[in-house]
Symmetry: C2
């Protein structure tokens, strides 16, 4: 997320102290049991960016549970979701553990350790409940709070709120769960949605995906209730589209990451444009695109790289639909949020 | 290479105009023939960083030679040598082409297209010859000038110079060839070595690897003759070692890149130190290490990332030997240049 975006919308800059510390259960006994069961001599550990600093401590704790001849490896690759499994590490280790994200696809090759927050959600929900305007609301949350989902629903129902929920699609594990790239669980018959979770990353995406709904944020981590606004986000996207309209050459990016493979889409875009080139990448960074030197780029991989990190790039970076708008195939007011539905 | 390092030693900042443009023969007929022979529908192209901007033009030329149903992919992954093959792209394409580096290991899965410079080396060698002090000199060059190697040798011999050359080891393809990580070809019985090639990246490494030899640089690209100095390079390495001496935790980095795998070395270092953690990475960048949060790092992958890019990192980044110096296992004056000999 760009600094500007962060300054404006991110609660990390409010200076408020967190009410709760988060603590996590890494389920190391389960990992050790898997090592023993498979008689493995190598274990690979992958952590989301926010927990990478815990990796050394987790490795220490795990090594105490394991025979001394077992090698513990920590993935240093960037990791922002279950779409982002370290495939090289999976190939090289007999036991591979992915911490902190719910599985997009169950596999016997991966031990997924969900990390459920120990934060009590009720106090902030009590505050949020008084901000709700409708009698019928949708309810969504992130993976780390899904173990409290029934409790959240009951809390609202006890106060006479009619709660609408659904499990999004096959990309999602839990009822009511949202991902940065998937808000299908908010596709319910309610004009208002309560999001329970930290930060503004998810609720802003939710607001973009469902512009007709009011999104109330109950943030139990930063201890604030706010409303998601998407205006700045939209302005930024229109600016990117406009600056790409003059592009003569296009790099169409397809990702090698396992859960970000919209390869057919990328190939189709290239096939239809003689001035477009198919670029294969894992991480998409400003430096890598600058070295390639095209006038503008279309990202078919993680949409949040485009929308949240886009302003950091030296050239315009568009979603596939934004590209169609930029080249005149769709009207400008057709702009919608790029999400992955059911794609693996 | 850091800005400071670049300002001081790099000819790109001399403001001198290049005498010659470099042009390359991409051998696209050979690539097209391979596609036809294998009845392939996908081709992957990988370019070194300095030629990434040519990728679109090369793809255009290649597409004209290919049936329309063949998909041409361009690797956007960073690439600094033949140690750095895009393995994901190799897995995904029927014909995979690596441009600009000589093979470290021949493989039927890779079409290596060497890119030989069209630059005439004789004028700058004439200038360099008058700077030579010894009657017996070693002669080395980079892959892109190896097709002129016999000519260079004859030029010197005609002037009464006794020329000593060798083919380094199995990591190298050509007689007299150097790599950024391998100067075995300069291991000859001569106190003076003439390096013919662009820039100071290679001759500074050569000087570090062979501190007893005088290294004269004949640079036909920037059109200057200079002498390699390693003093600043050494100072920087000592500074990194000193700043790592207080480290309480260590990240030991092993690489997944095919030609940079010193895995046993990395595992041994971790096994001997309870405060060391084994980190698996492809690209090694300041941000990735910062997120991990150890006090200092040891890089068993590409040594030039450590020595040339090290100052850009937030924490000290050491070679394996520098690490042994920092923890007191070797004396400080034992410092030598980290190179790959015969390792694949």
């Amino acid at each position: 997320m760009s600094q500007d975006e962060r300054s404006d919308g991110d609660l990390r800059n409010t200076g408020m102290r967190l009410r709760y510390d988060r603590e996590w259960d890494y389920e190391l006994d389960r990992v050790a049991a898997a090592v023993s069961e498979r008689d493995a001599t190598s274990v690979g550990l992958q952590f989301p960016e926010g927990l990478k600093r815990s990796a050394g401590g987790v490795a220490d704790d795990l090594r105490e549970l394991l025979p001394t001849d077992v090698t513990v490896r920590i993935s240093g690759q960037p990791c922002y979701g279950a779409c982002d499994l370290d495939l090289e590490m999976m190939r090289r280790t007999e036991v591979f553990v992915h911490f902190g994200h719910s599985p997009m696809k169950e596999s016997s090759d991966v031990i997924y350790v969900p990390l459920f927050s120990n934060v009590d959600v009720e106090p902030i929900m009590a505050e949020a409940a008084s901000e709700l305007e409708a009698d019928t609301v949708g309810l969504v949350t992130t993976a780390q709070h899904t173990h409290h989902f029934d409790e959240m629903r009951e809390f609202l129902e006890e106060r006479g709120v009619s709660v609408r929920t659904r499990k999004g699609d096959e990309r999602l594990t839990h009822e009511g769960q949202v991902l940065g790239c998937n808000y299908a669980s908010a596709d319910v018959d309610a004009d208002e949605v309560l999001y329970v979770g930290g930060g503004k990353f998810h609720p802003v995406g939710l607001g973009m995906e469902h512009p007709d709904k009011r999104v109330v944020i109950a943030d139990p981590i930063n201890n604030v209730v706010t409303e998601a606004t998407t205006e700045q986000f939209e302005k930024q996207r229109y600016a990117a589209i406009h600056s790409a309209m003059d592009a003569e050459t296009w790099g169409i990016i397809e990702s090698t990451k396992i859960g970000q493979r919209r390869w057919d889409l990328a190939e189709d875009l290239v096939a239809d444009n003689d001035d477009a080139y198919l670029i294969t990448l894992d991480e998409i960074t400003p430096d890598r695109l600058r070295n390639l030197g095209y006038d503008a780029y279309v990202n078919t991989a993680c949409p949040r790289v485009t929308t949240d990190d886009g302003p950091q790039f030296h050239e315009p970076l568009l979603t596939p639909q934004e590209y169609r708008i930029a080249i005149g195939e769709e009207p400008i007011d057709a702009l919608s949020f790029d999400t992955f539905h059911g794609t693996w």
